[in-house]
Symmetry: C2
Subunit: 202 residues, 2 copies
């Protein structure tokens, strides 16, 4: 019994110290502005984290624009779900994975058209959140010029948030981002022979 | 001009090889069943990726249950948004971050009550996706017994998907998971003095 009381007291003291550190950090972070988030890495969760942020923003009554630079399939749950939500603009610009089209000139033209849609959102202060899904893939294959993309991102309205997803985010993008997460695969169901499941993978 | 044609031909050949490898992998993955996904690590995106999967599942007409084990704040966009969606059961069981309560006995009782809600979802085959948000925190502080949690997860309906989030996922959970992502922080706006922004952080 005494042991349990001591354990609880140690827990309370440790948590008090933790709270002090966290409260100080929160007090120090007072800048309010739009942030640029980049979700990269080879693990699962890059696009789904962006779509979770879409839900979050809609919950705060914000308007959201999404551009998907690579259309992997046409039956995704996220597209079906968010297209029917008020306050969402959803563009799917890709024509398939780049290894499906096997046509560089067509992929470049598609990426350029997608970037034009993105730029329109990035110039509209009424849009609080812009998601540029799989933009990193278009940058990795140099379908788009990274300097131009970065310039348009930096020139967006000051309060606008942007989330960029895709493997292999280029260093030029990471340099101007506020929050960057590397989603690393520890294990994946696919490697164990499990098919891409609706509601989880798409 | 010839250089450009050669570049396009090399691109097409590389993409053809890539497509062959990917098609073989897709053909090899034919098992269809519920998967257990764990989002862990110190970076941003663990909970938002889970909420993105909720949107995905709802887009496929599935029913979803969410239990939040740690209630950091009461004004989250995700809760406001998903509570108004048909097909979603949403429980917020935590009473604050564990460093806010500083009361181990109360945290244990809260975690136990949350686990009872989770178990009810994990026994209901009508629920296609169960999100256990910040469960890893309850396991890290040993508010819940990991063996019992793993046993309940393993005993769930065969087609049911589960997403568990939170830093420091225990090895016992990783062992039974199908897909595990380590979300690693490359950089974070908070460290640069930016406040937690609505629509992005909550």
């Amino acid at each position: 019994m005494n042991e349990s009381i001591e354990k609880d007291a140690r827990h309370a003291a440790r948590m008090q110290r933790k709270k002090t550190v966290i409260d100080e950090k929160i007090a120090a972070a007072q800048i309010e502005r739009g942030v640029l988030v980049v979700n990269t890495g080879n693990g699962k969760g890059k696009s789904s984290a962006a779509f979770g942020v879409v839900a979050r923003a809609l919950g705060h009554g914000m308007k959201v624009g999404v551009v998907q630079f690579v259309k992997g399939r046409s039956d995704t749950g996220e597209e079906a779900f968010f297209r029917r939500q008020p306050g969402v603009v959803w563009h799917v610009m890709g024509e398939g994975f780049t290894w499906d089209t096997q046509d560089r000139a067509r992929d470049v033209a598609t990426a350029e058209a997608a970037w034009e849609q993105a730029r329109a959102l990035l110039r509209d202060p009424a849009i609080s959140l812009v998601v540029l899904d799989e933009l990193n893939i278009a940058l990795k294959y140099r379908y788009l010029d990274v300097e131009r993309v970065v310039a348009d991102l930096v020139a967006r309205p000051a309060a606008q948030h942007v989330v960029v997803t895709g493997r292999a985010a280029p260093p030029e993008l990471i340099a101007v981002a506020d929050t960057v997460t590397e989603m690393g695969p520890v294990k994946h169901a696919f490697s164990a022979g499990v098919k891409a499941m609706p509601g989880i993978e798409f």
